[in-house]
């Protein structure tokens, strides 16, 4: 290599003795979390409004479409359910718990909301006591697989709703709402069955995939789940957006602000 230009030792930029700055990263690391924080916050505010605002609790149904926020529909006439509690509140804990304990969402909100860490190689000044997921409340993340079972139940119900969306009061047909509900449930299925806990249950917990016939079958299933799991973040995003938009569409129909277009 050619001889270099004049050396310029000690010319710089004093870094106080051994004190490293918060980060030496030159890129816009603070931008990384904004997409998640913005979209997720909008979703959370919207879902809360839809679930708790009394008037909203009447806008869940536009024949034959049922909003995913209100499905399965429990006592919408409030025969036994107190007026203050909407049917959505009764059920939303399931999907909400599933997402809040999902390994992808955990990563995203630990980074985005807790800045723990805000970005890689960016120090967390001020976070004195760190327990990670070893103590309350985050140790509860270990129940994720139980929320997976709950999510599968909801998925079955949403598939029922999507099929029911073909049956209009005047016969079988296809509306824009039917397509929306079908796309939504497909995206939710992709999200649910790419779950890490499911990946573990199908075959991840095995050490030997060839040792028994059932292990061989489980290996095939595990491979399929792995393929979905590799894009789990994608499924998490699109399914969250689609479930919000599906609810919004049905809400606008129910409020008479939009008219469904019949395609067939």
């Amino acid at each position: 290599m050619a001889q270099t230009a004049t050396p310029t030792p000690n010319s710089i930029a004093s870094m106080p003795e051994m004190r490293r700055p918060r980060t030496e990263r030159h890129d816009a690391w603070w931008l990384e979390n904004w997409p998640f924080v913005i979209v997720f916050s909008i979703f959370a505010v919207y879902a809360t409004w839809r679930a708790v605002w009394p008037h909203e609790a009447t806008l869940y149904w536009s024949d034959p479409y049922l909003s995913p926020f209100y499905s399965p529909l429990i006592d919408p006439q409030h025969h036994w359910l107190p007026r203050l509690i909407s049917p959505a509140i009764l059920i939303l804990w399931g999907p909400l718990g599933f997402r809040m304990t999902c390994y992808y969402y955990r990563k995203a909100y630990y980074r985005g909301y807790f800045a723990d860490p805000a970005a890689c190689a960016v120090s967390e000044k001020g976070h004195k006591r760190y327990c990670g997921e070893t103590s309350f409340p985050f140790i509860l993340q270990n129940v994720h697989r139980y929320f997976f079972y709950v999510a599968v139940f909801f998925l079955v119900v949403l598939w029922y709703d999507a099929i029911r969306a073909f049956f209009f009061p005047n016969g079988v047909g296809l509306g824009v709402g039917t397509v929306i509900m079908l796309v939504n449930v497909v995206l939710l299925t992709g999200y649910t069955f790419g779950c890490h806990a499911w990946r573990h249950l199908t075959g991840g917990g095995l050490d030997c995939f060839s040792c028994t016939a059932s292990a061989q079958a489980r290996h095939k299933l595990w491979q399929g789940v792995t393929r979905l799991n590799e894009h789990h973040m994608f499924w998490a995003w699109v399914s969250m957006i689609s479930v919000g938009l599906t609810d919004l569409y049905i809400r606008l129909l129910a409020a008479g602000m939009l008219k469904d277009i019949r395609l067939l």
Binding site: T4, P7, M15, Y103, K107, D116, P117, G132, H196, D207
Partner: protein
């Protein structure tokens, strides 16, 4: 001739500062070449570890513009050269001199992990599908970039309670081995403190071997810990199966 300013950390023990060196740019140059140029022509006492210059020995780990990288795998033309290129030693480990740090803590953690133990009476036959998972983990070159970036070690200093991603990769390679019979799950929970990992994936982002550390090693191991310690149904199922086998 085009030039770049290398802002290299110089120091020993407890003191040090960054020093600017201007180096001529050569086509295809990597950061390690630039550091070698400084060492050859301007600062012969600059301490830097390297061996293979091919991204395989894991020696040349450092923080380039604040990102943990292998210097020999970081091309100069991928960096913004209108500003100085900052090169610092790994932050998580004690400094020896300049870019060399003392990573011996890692070897002490490694000793806590029981090595491969074949199951009694095991047949020494494996199929490719059984070793695919483990082979990914065997790609590890022990560069310790993942250990450096992991906030549990880097910021929270949990070296006594937490093994770090490199050692979850190693444990996974043993736990998922089709012929191995040892149970390292209690070790994962207690000694290696896998619960401290909050799966924020920085280790995966920096791994030069592109090992899916979080998705393929840590999360599957966390699920095994759940099986053994947090899932009452799994416990019950094991009891029933145990009773049946008995």
């Amino acid at each position: 001739m085009a030039e770049a300013t290398m802002r290299i950390f110089r120091g020993e023990g407890e003191t040090g500062k960054h020093v600017d060196y201007v180096v001529p740019l050569v086509p295809g140059m990597v950061v390690l070449d630039a550091v070698h140029s400084v060492q050859a022509h301007q600062a012969p006492d600059l301490a830097v570890r390297w061996n293979c210059k091919a991204g395989k020995c894991g020696s040349c780990s450092a923080e380039v513009n604040g990102r943990p990288r292998l210097m020999c795998k970081t091309r100069m033309d991928d960096l913004p050269l209108d500003q100085p290129v900052t090169i610092s030693p790994l932050k998580t480990f004690p400094l020896i001199k300049d870019l060399a740090t003392d990573v011996s803590w890692n070897y002490r953690v490694n000793k806590k992990i029981p090595p491969f133990q074949p199951r009694p009476g095991v047949e020494w036959k494996m199929y490719q599908r059984d070793v695919d998972r483990v082979q990914e983990f065997r790609k590890c070159i022990e560069c310790f970039l993942c250990q450096d970036v992991c906030h549990v070690l880097r910021d929270h200093g949990k070296k006594d309670d937490f093994g770090g991603p490199r050692f979850f990769v190693r444990t996974a390679s043993l736990e998922m081995h089709p012929l191995d019979g040892a149970d390292r799950v209690p070790l994962l929970k207690k000694t290696l403190g896998i619960g401290f990992c909050n799966i924020t994936k920085c280790c995966t982002e920096v791994c030069p071997e592109e090992i899916h550390i979080t998705d393929n090693a840590i999360i599957p191991l966390k699920e095994r810990v759940v099986d053994e310690f947090y899932d009452p149904l799994a416990k019950l199922w094991r009891k029933i199966r145990g009773a049946k086998t008995a």
